[in-house]
Amino acid sequence: MSPLWRLLIYLVAAPLIGGLLAGIDRRISARMQARLGPPLLQPFYDVAKLWCKEPLVVRRSQNFYILFFFVLTVFTGALFFCGSDLLLVFFALTLSGIFFVLGAFKASSPYSFVGASRELIQMMAYEPIVLLTAVGLYMVTHSFSVDTIVGSAQTPIILLPGVFIALMYAMEMKFRKSPFDLAASHHAHQELVRGLTTEFAGPTLALIEIAHWYENVMLLGWLFLFFSIHWTLGLLAVAVCFFLLLVVDNVCGRVKWLFALRSAWIMTLVLGCGNILVLWLLQVFGILKLS
């Protein structure tokens, strides 16, 4: 499929899939908590309603940052699904995340400030393993290009299990799931106010939600890279991963930020870097030959 078609499909389908996933998420979580849960399409109703609300702001320029957060998140996903360079995808995603955080800083309210600071700590916590994922995939497939990685004869998960597990750990943060939903949680029982999004309202909040859908679809795409040997296997694995994230979300309470940072870095060091070290040793001693 040509990149242009993929781009178009991504632009239209990603928010639909992301919204549906959010609906599924809420249904499954509700069942885990012995509730019935909202209709499957509830996230779409929510966003539609938010869109009609009054645009309230604390600082007049705060919404501009969110607009750019949205645009850059969509752009990042577009890069990824058009098969571009994985490192650039990561850098672009970081950039979009930065705009989100800056927006929260700009709002200048204590709760959004704390949310922004915590989001920063989380970024610092997951950044190493995200970059290490690119490193690992490069070592296995000799390329940063998403297309080449997908088309490669290797199955990255076999060679990069440690990196994958550490990445899954970081994914809990990226999906804003417990135990790492420090910056902004969707669980009312453990959230004081709303963290990062405290001072955003109406259409801007809707935009944040849609950006989150786009982002989630792309993140699942990253996980897919590890199982890219076959489409069905890949999709199945990604579905399992998604379910796993939900289970963890529902069985864990929120942890303190220091624990989040420390544990993520330790996971990265032990599993991620350990994996890279083993891979490197295998290659140096000629046991493993990757064409």
Partner: protein, 631 residues
């Protein structure tokens, strides 16, 4: 007719001597202005395509110049002995005598006479460095005119006004830097190297307080130690009858020159304030801000990495190279983490400088053509953005009487233009798709193609980098209550420098493909005898340009400023009192709200981390010399 390069070196020296006897501020201003224009014009002229060989023509015979330099070095040694006695630091004398002894034996006692064919060098790398020195250095001198005026008149009236000496040294320093990057003869290069050390010593001690004296002495000792390494390298090269020219060393058999090259890399490591020598650069922050910008971020510290990158082809694929790379990687990681813990803006900049130089040393240690390409790119982007950041902090410190990051909240109202410039500089330092990120991409790729394990340092280090920059950026944006605009009485010299550097930060990112194509790639190609080399695929460059365009659209959104929104007070967790900064807490008490950044000081212990870094780096350096001497 004298060539342009000797003129470019000699002119600042002469101007410096004139400034030394110029007491009047009225005369100094035009003199400095003319000097700055000349220096900028000269460095630009050298960067023009098709510069003839004759620019390297020396006014007198090179032997005579060498003799003159030797005489000056003898005087410097005597001066250092005097400093050593006066400060009661015997180590200074010891290091100075070691240098002098090595050089003396080499020049006078050695039977061999090493032939030198090319005394000067003019290739793309030295042109790039020349541009950095001329343009950024010149702009900083312009800035310094206004800064020192305010410094003495408004802020430190009690302090001895040593501006004659200050500007004289600044220009002498510029001359020495030009000399350094255009010297091909290592003995000449060494001469200029020592002069920059001395300039740095004088300027750090400018305030004449106990602290600044102490820090100046520490900087002197560490740089002299590097100088001893340099002198030993010269001695060994001369004794072996080996090449003593920069362009020849790279072509020589690596086995023959590995020890001298390792010593040169060691000298580079001291000059660029890598671990275990980082403390001198942190101490150097006591100097007036233009000094920090000029010597300790944009130019002098680049001399170290310049030398490391020059000899990189020899280091490529050797254990010595790996150890040098490790020193750089370790420094990058430790300095980035340490930068999180500090709230002093200048210190954050200093740590970030050390960290970025670490990345460049890492590139030099790897020594592949990709790595050298990335290293040179890093030098360019870092010099511009960091120069800008220092200059901004200098102005802010004078206006707000503080350089604490937390005090900069609301800066967008207090000093709108400066706050935007500061953000441009920061964007240049860490944001995609601005300069540093392009370089980081290239560094990561170069590392993966040769030593994948070093990537571990980079991934953790860049995560830390992200944290301390964004939290600072966030503070700048925050506005809790109205502030008075204090952006007044900033002289035109300062504005010129600030605007130019902001434009350059942006411009180099836009024009980076051209910079790479016409300057960096040709250099790398000749150095590594490559027929074809494209550092970055066109597709990626296009993506980066699109990203840059997207981000540049951001200011446009302010057209919509305040339209279609309803402004309310922030949520404070209680009933807000009249403004958004007070609320009624429990039992009816009125409380102020306040926000403070995270510094993680009790998680990351700055002193402990630095100490551990110093110990590891010492072990690495010891390993380096053991390995090189034994082989």
């Amino acid at each position: 007719m004298v060539g342009l390069i000797p003129l470019l070196v000699a002119f600042p020296f002469i101007l410096g001597l004139v400034l030394l006897v110029t007491g009047s501020n009225r005369v100094r201003r035009p003199l400095v202005g003319v000097g700055v224009i000349a220096v900028i014009a000269g460095s630009l002229a050298l960067a023009m395509p098709g510069v003839p060989e004759s620019v390297m023509k020396l006014p007198v015979s090179p032997e005579l110049i060498s003799k003159g330099m030797l005489a000056i070095e003898a005087v410097i040694t005597l001066y250092l002995l005097f400093v050593s006695v006066r400060t009661r630091r015997p180590l200074i004398a010891l290091l100075a005598l070691a240098q002098a002894g090595l050089l003396g034996v080499m020049e006078l006692g050695g039977g061999h006479h090493v032939e030198v064919t090319h005394y000067l060098i003019l290739d793309q790398f030295s042109v790039i460095l020349g541009l950095i020195i001329g343009v950024i250095g010149g702009l900083i001198c312009l800035y310094a005119l206004d800064y020192m005026q305010e410094f003495h008149v408004h802020h430190h009236p009690e302090m001895h006004d040593g501006r004659c000496m200050f500007f004289a040294i600044l220009f002498i320093f510029l001359g020495a830097m030009f000399g350094l990057v255009f010297s091909n003869n290592l003995i000449w290069l060494y001469f200029f190297w020592e002069i920059t050390t001395l300039c740095s010593f004088w300027l750090i001690g400018y305030k004449r307080t106990d602290e600044s004296k102490r820090n100046a002495q520490r900087a002197l000792m560490m740089n002299l130690a590097g100088g001893v390494g340099f002198a030993t390298a010269l001695f060994l090269l001369a004794r072996g009858g080996g090449p003593i020219e920069l362009d020849q060393i790279v072509m020589a058999k690596p086995a023959l020159v590995l020890l001298p090259v390792a010593l040169l890399a060691f000298a580079g490591i001291t000059k660029s304030a890598q671990l275990p020598f980082s403390s001198w650069l942190l101490g150097a922050m006591v100097a007036p801000t233009p000094v920090s910008a000029l010597l300790h971020s944009s130019t002098m510290v680049n001399a170290g990495v310049y030398l490391v990158l020059r000899v990189a082809p020899v280091l490529q694929g050797t254990v010595a190279g790996i150890l040098v790379a490790l020193v750089g990687a370790l420094t990058f990681l430790v300095a980035s983490l340490a930068a999180i813990t500090t709230s002093d803006a200048k210190k954050v900049l200093a740590y970030s400088t050390i960290a970025n130089l670490g990345l460049i040393v890492l590139c030099g240690g790897i020594g592949t053509h990709e790595a050298v390409w990335a290293g040179i790119l890093l030098i360019v982007f870092h010099a511009i953005a960091k120069g800008l950041l220092f200059l901004c902090v200098g102005v802010i410190e004078h206006k707000l009487h503080s350089r604490n990051i937390d005090d900069m909240s609301g800066l967008i109202l207090k000093m709108p233009r400066l706050s935007v410039m500061l953000q441009i500089g920061m964007a240049g330092m860490f944001l995609a798709p601005f300069g540093m990120l392009i370089s980081k991409y290239a560094v990561l790729k170069a590392v993966l193609d040769s030593m994948p394990l070093l990537a571990i340092f980079i991934v953790f280090g860049s995560a830390a980098t992200l944290f301390f920059w964004i939290k600072w950026m966030g503070s700048l944006l925050m506005v809790t209550h109205p502030h008075e605009n204090v952006e007044k009485n900033i002289g035109w010299g300062k504005w010129t420098a600030l605007y130019s550097l902001s434009a350059m930060t942006f411009g180099t990112c836009m024009l980076f493909p051209l910079l790479s194509k016409y300057l960096i790639e040709p250099y790398v190609k000749t150095q590594y005898h490559l027929a074809q080399f494209t550092a970055m695929s066109d597709g990626n460059i296009i993506i980066m340009v699109i990203m840059l365009a997207l981000v540049s659209l951001f200011p446009l959104s302010f057209i919509n400023y305040g339209r279609n929104v309803k402004v309310i007070d922030p949520y404070l967790g209680g009933a807000n009192k009249d403004s958004g900064i007070q609320f009624t807490g429990s039992a009816g008490t009125v409380r102020d709200m306040s926000m403070q950044n995270y510094y993680l000081a009790d998680v990351l212990h700055e002193a402990k981390m630095m100490k551990a870094g110093v110990i590891f780096a010492c072990l690495l350096l010891a390993g380096l010399f053991l390995k090189v001497v034994c082989s």
